[in-house]
Subunit: 309 residues, 2 copies
């Protein structure tokens, strides 16, 4: 079983409007709701790939109920979310039909209490007992200390479960210091963490800060992976067009999938890049197109990079 | 008891963002939820004025549950909403803190079935038995025929309950043909209905189409009232600044309040104008400021207009 943690899960709402006019009134022509938050997206992709995926984190209020109902309806993923008194946040994506662009409005999320955090960590420790790998994904809800992910990384080490961390800002910085097995920052997060906009240099610096391996997503340029065994760069064949929403989460799923299947690092990276590309090309935001994935996987180019400087 | 009908009630959500940037990603700094829809707003103002107010219409899904919970918490208004399978719509108002302007996104609302409409009309007829007046407010949800308000106007006539209609477009046109006691269009709705941008002429035309009386809201210029007894124009003292959200609903409450209290038409109009102005000046959108209302009421100027052309 692969465990994913989403401490700030969301009810993702997509509105389609003919054209977004600031300060205007819009009749929304289409409303789509889906369970959201990075760890939930990762688990959905893992389940599609045939893995047993369990999601934990927090859910509360009417929005939390809606999220759990949609999660149950979609099937494939086991719900081990912990109830909280506060309401699960909404994220509202307003798609301008004229341009195809999205304007995103993200609520902060529920205030999580110390008692709720204790209930979560107890459940988390129990779930680790059955996990082949764990991914810690996304932002922290209000009320949780910035070192929360670091605590979970240490719990995973104690349980001897490989742990991947995908977050940003201070939570990423603190989490890395607890020595996660893998982090998956994007170029912007890498730069924010290290001050360097040169990905190879920034990724090496990230390893020095504590991450055992770094898989950096570089948007259309593919991914860069640095581990104790070597460094590789991988890119999809040809230029991609489409919606990048969820591409990073699909990459995390690819890395975890390869990890639990015991394939070598370059193959894990290829899975991550192919899944990511198949997500960009899928018609629905955040979904991946299986035929595209299977077509792309053997055609991803993986090139070894110079040994650590 | 005063009955208000809101067929397309809403969970009104207000987001505050530092500055709205189309196609950008925004962290919402403040989330406010309140029960919405014109009839609910009217009932809230009526209850604040000391009237017994009952709301009916439809509520469904998690958003409907949230709306009913907030309605119960706010107190004062009796909930006689009918459950529907579809989910109550959300309206999202995004307030740009830099400019104070609001960008509004309104969901269409639930698909109401014929069986749900039957359950509603049965309840409506029963509620009319105890009503001194009824107001039919706002847009129709998807699935309801455009003549639905006309049917409710006729039911009110049968029950001998004075009926006010406040809607727009074809639902207004069809409703007027069923001869409501009062309609409250704004200048834009009047023009859409009659083709005339001259309010006095358009209001007279509206009476010829079937409305027994017309109270037209003219924004900062106050209101125009035409009845079988005469015509009046009323304006607040001085220029108003503030948020006009809910000002029209407060005007409806003022007209109903004066009707059930049996005061003459010019006094009803003064209440409508003073409440409307006290809503524009209130710090929170859609609320009215009681002290401002009591201060303004005796100072509203009401001028008789020329007899019908």
């Amino acid at each position: 079983m692969i465990l994913t943690v989403t401490l700030n899960a969301a009810l993702d709402i997509t509105y389609r409007v003919p054209r977004l006019r600031p300060h205007g009134t819009h009749r929304v022509s289409e409303v789509i709701e889906r369970p959201g938050g990075k760890g939930l997206n990762v688990a959905r992709v893992l389940a599609s790939l045939g893995h047993e995926a369990v999601v934990t984190g927090f859910a509360g209020g009417g929005t939390g109920d809606a999220l759990r109902r949609l999660l149950a309806e979609s099937g494939g993923v086991t719900d081990a979310l912990i109830p909280v008194a506060g309401a699960t946040r909404r994220t509202v994506g307003v798609v301008d039909a004229a341009s195809g662009d999205t304007t995103q409005l993200n609520e902060p999320g529920p205030q999580v209490t110390a008692a709720e955090w204790d209930a979560f960590t107890e459940r988390f420790t129990r779930l680790l007992g059955g996990a082949a790998a764990v991914a810690l994904c996304g932002s922290l809800p209000p009320g949780l200390p910035v070192g929360s992910y670091a605590q979970l990384v240490r719990e995973a080490h104690t349980a001897r479960v490989p742990v991947l961390l995908d977050t940003s800002g201070e939570a990423l910085r603190r989490g890395i210091a607890a020595r996660p097995d893998l982090v998956k920052p994007n170029a912007e997060e890498l730069a924010g963490l290290t001050g360097s906009t040169e990905p190879l240099r920034a990724a090496r610096d990230t390893r020095r800060r504590g991450a055992r391996a770094v898989a950096a997503s570089l948007g259309p340029d593919g991914m860069l992976l640095i581990t104790t065994d070597g460094a590789w760069r991988a890119a999809p064949p040809g230029r991609l067009t489409g919606n990048p929403t969820g591409a990073g989460d699909s990459a995390v799923a690819g890395l975890l999938s390869g990890l639990v299947d015991g394939v070598p690092w370059p193959d894990r990276l290829a899975r991550a890049v192919a899944l990511s590309a198949a997500t960009v090309r899928a018609p629905a935001a955040g979904e991946f197109d299986r035929a595209t994935y299977e077509d792309l996987l053997p055609r991803v180019t993986v090139a070894e990079q110079p040994a650590a400087a």
